[in-house]
């Protein structure tokens, strides 16, 4: 995203005007030192921006066209910042290597020089937390808590940036730029980590009804206590249930009810620790709803000829979308499930079909027909040309179908999906 790149590179622009460029890049020592400084400055700026991206803001959801894309950018930017920050000391140590390996080694030893020590502490913490994120499969809620400690690494990093004798300490503009960006990132992450419950405006609901749709799928219906959420069919929200035997952390779910209903419905498949707790829900339990988020909706696509493809529980946004689908839309819905018993909401779909001649349901049973593939979709939908494709289902399912469509010559811009892996 260009705005991220611009914000990250402004410090380099300021830096480049502080001394003649010739002096910055005159010999090996000065070149490596200069690059090391650039890497540090850009890395820390990106780190600050990343804290802002993690703030789950509605304006970011709109700007990036979906919260999943905000998080995808967060993870990409995090990796780039991490790599830059790793190379920052490696480039700076070159000049000490030119003196002796002893001098170079002392550069990495903590408590020789305090500003350097802040940097070392920050880096060690960052390496630990990034290793947890990248290489160790932690449970989502454990990982989420561990990842919050990135802010601690960030604080040490900012101490290091502002206290060490460098261009940052020598140029007021650079110092305040870095400081403002850092403070912004810090305020946002602290607000999110500690004051989320109090400062972010959230809607209050209570559990009205819990229906077991089949042995593993629950439908939870909620009634607003005050204002109801205004959303576009296909969007999702973060739900946190307050009830006995259910952890109160918030989790994202697609909304399966129609946007004109007063009550809000989500449809949850028992897939893990948290979703299995939801069967403990009782009528009247409180629900805090943060949303809506997401850009996945038939309404955001100008082309009214669409193919919707749902894999299993991925049907939920399509239930909401189809419930009051305008007649001007022509939609082929492919619903892929293992067996017919898994296909929830078939009745709803059929009633939509009766009302709307332009809506067609194709139920695909993988136990008898094998995996759904692009060829089947192309045949049954008659024509892929001039149609936009919306995918929702397990990540592998979406990835595989997307690749198949692209290899059949479908423009990748006409394939829409949302990644729920955050």
């Amino acid at each position: 995203m260009p705005i991220i790149i611009i914000i990250s590179l402004i410090p380099v622009v300021i830096w480049s005007f502080m001394l003649p460029i010739g002096a910055r890049f005159s010999d090996l020592n000065s070149i490596t030192t200069s690059l090391g400084q650039i890497f540090g400055l850009v890395g820390m700026s990106m780190f600050s921006i990343n804290l802002i991206l993690a703030g789950r803001f509605k304006f970011l959801d709109k700007y990036f066209k979906g919260l999943d894309k905000v998080y995808a950018n967060h993870s990409r930017l995090g990796s780039i910042a991490f790599s830059l920050i790793l190379f920052h000391p490696l480039l700076l140590v070159v000049k000490y290597l030119a003196i002796s390996t002893k001098e170079a080694a002392m550069f990495f030893v903590p408590f020789v020089n305090m500003p350097v020590t802040w940097g070392i502490i920050s880096l060690v913490l960052m390496i630990l937390l990034m290793s947890l994120t990248l290489y160790i499969k932690l449970k989502y809620n454990v990982w989420k808590i561990s990842h919050k400690f990135m802010v601690v690494a960030f604080i040490f990093g900012i101490f290091h940036t502002l206290m060490i004798s460098s261009d940052v300490s020598r140029n007021d503009f650079l110092r305040y730029y870095i400081l403002i960006l850092a403070v912004l990132g810090l305020i946002i992450s602290i607000r999110k980590a500690f004051f989320d419950k109090y400062l972010v405006k959230k809607l209050k609901y209570k559990v009205k009804n819990v229906t077991q749709l089949n042995e593993s799928i629950l439908e939870i219906e909620m009634e607003p206590l005050q204002d109801k959420m205004i959303f576009t069919p296909g969007q999702f929200a973060f739900f946190s249930f307050i009830g006995e035997g259910i952890s109160s952390e918030s989790h994202p779910f697609s909304i399966s009810s129609s946007n004109i209903d007063n009550n809000l419905k989500i449809t949850v498949k028992n897939l893990g620790d948290y979703t299995s707790q939801l069967k403990n829900l009782k009528l009247g339990d409180g629900v805090i709803v943060d949303g809506p988020y997401g850009h996945f909706s038939y309404k955001n696509i100008p082309n009214k000829n669409q193919i919707w493809i749902a894999g299993g529980i991925g049907i939920t946004p399509f239930i909401s979308m189809s419930s009051n689908l305008e007649e001007s839309y022509s939609v082929d819905l492919f619903y892929s499930v293992k067996e017919k018993s898994e296909a929830v909401y078939l009745n709803n779909m059929q009633s939509v079909m009766q009302k709307n001649n332009n809506f067609k349901l194709n139920l695909w049973l993988t136990s008898t027909n094998g995996y759904l593939n692009s060829g089947v979709v192309a045949t049954l939908a008659k024509d892929l040309n001039n149609k936009d494709i919306l995918l929702c289902g397990p990540a592998m399912f979406m990835e595989s179908l997307k690749n198949q469509f692209v290899s059949m010559g479908v423009d990748v811009k006409k394939i829409h999906y949302e990644n729920f892996n955050f």
Partner: protein, 300 residues
């Protein structure tokens, strides 16, 4: 993106471990070699000193320093000491350009802040103690010291005399050892300094120089008690860090160059130097001589 992080992390790990192992485990041999090496050459500016000695004598004053203003012949003044760093170009971690800008000038502020355009108001932490010990190899002599003549370095007596002779025009109070012709002499040893360990009679050592700061109490911007804590001791680190309990690993901002020039007024002699003195006590006599700079304390 995971690949990028993994590759960076791998390179980082390999390089850091390699440097730490090479620098901390295997360096011992090389270090021994270096010690014998430097014990042979002693001071890296021996050549310059011999040249000066051959040509007669020389006063290390500002006009003289400013003659050596290019990279191929570079002298500079740092905290009242003159250095010939010509042979250090190429080894400076901060690059040669920034250093070249300070040739022939008072580089105290630049050295303290690592910024060649620094003024005394510029903030920034200075060079490390390691850098300081490297710098010592390029030491020519003290500012306004006369070198050459009979020996390469001025004898302490000439230095003190010199100071009294050249600086007796203006009227700031400066304590200087009275170099009286009496035969009684005193060695400025650590033991001797340790005797003067109270506020009413306070000596200390900073960078191998002995100062009698008894008369400076009341004028220290940082207060009396911190300074009193260092009486009779080697206060180098305390002075460098502004922390009386500092160890050599503590890192903080040093005193300003103005503070350093104030300090020079209380100079008694170098550590282990033998100074002439009529009685032990007169070494703290005050004579009226100059101090070229204003002593403004408000902005240390």
């Amino acid at each position: 993106m995971k690949k990028l992080s993994t590759i960076s992390l791998f390179i980082f790990g390999v390089v850091v471990i390699a440097i730490l192992v090479a620098g901390l485990v295997f360096y011992q041999n090389g270090k021994n070699g270096q010690i014998t090496d430097s014990s042979k050459t002693g001071n890296l500016v021996q050549g310059t000193l011999s040249k000066i000695a051959a040509a007669g004598s020389l006063t290390l004053d500002m006009p003289e320093i400013s003659k050596h203003n290019k990279q191929s012949d570079c002298w500079l003044l740092i905290s009242g000491k003159v250095y010939d760093i010509t042979s250090f170009f190429g080894s400076h971690p901060g690059g040669s350009k920034v250093m070249a800008e300070t040739c022939g000038t008072d580089a105290t502020d630049a050295y303290m802040t690592k910024d060649p355009n620094a003024t005394s108001a510029t903030s920034g932490s200075g060079h490390s103690s390691r850098a300081k010990s490297m710098l010592a190899n390029y030491y020519l002599g003290d500012f306004n010291q006369k070198i050459g003549g009979q020996s390469n370095k001025a004898t302490p007596t000439t230095q003190v005399t010199n100071q009294t002779n050249t600086d007796s025009n203006s009227s700031t109070t400066t304590p200087v050892v009275t170099t009286s012709p009496t035969s009684t002499s005193l060695t400025l040893s650590v033991q001797e300094v340790a005797k003067h360990n109270k506020q009413s009679d306070c000596w200390f050592i900073i960078s191998d120089k002995v100062y009698n700061i008894t008369n400076f109490f009341g004028s220290h911007p940082g207060g009396n008690s911190v300074m009193a804590a260092t009486c009779g001791t080697d206060a180098t680190v305390a002075y460098m860090t502004k922390d009386p309990n500092a160890t050599s690993s503590t890192s903080r901002q040093a005193h300003s160059s103005r503070a350093t020039s104030m300090l020079s007024s209380y100079y008694v002699g170098d550590l282990n130097q033998v100074v002439g003195s009529s009685t032990t006590k007169t070494s703290s006599n005050i004579v009226t001589t100059s101090n070229s700079r204003n002593t403004r304390y408000e902005d240390d």
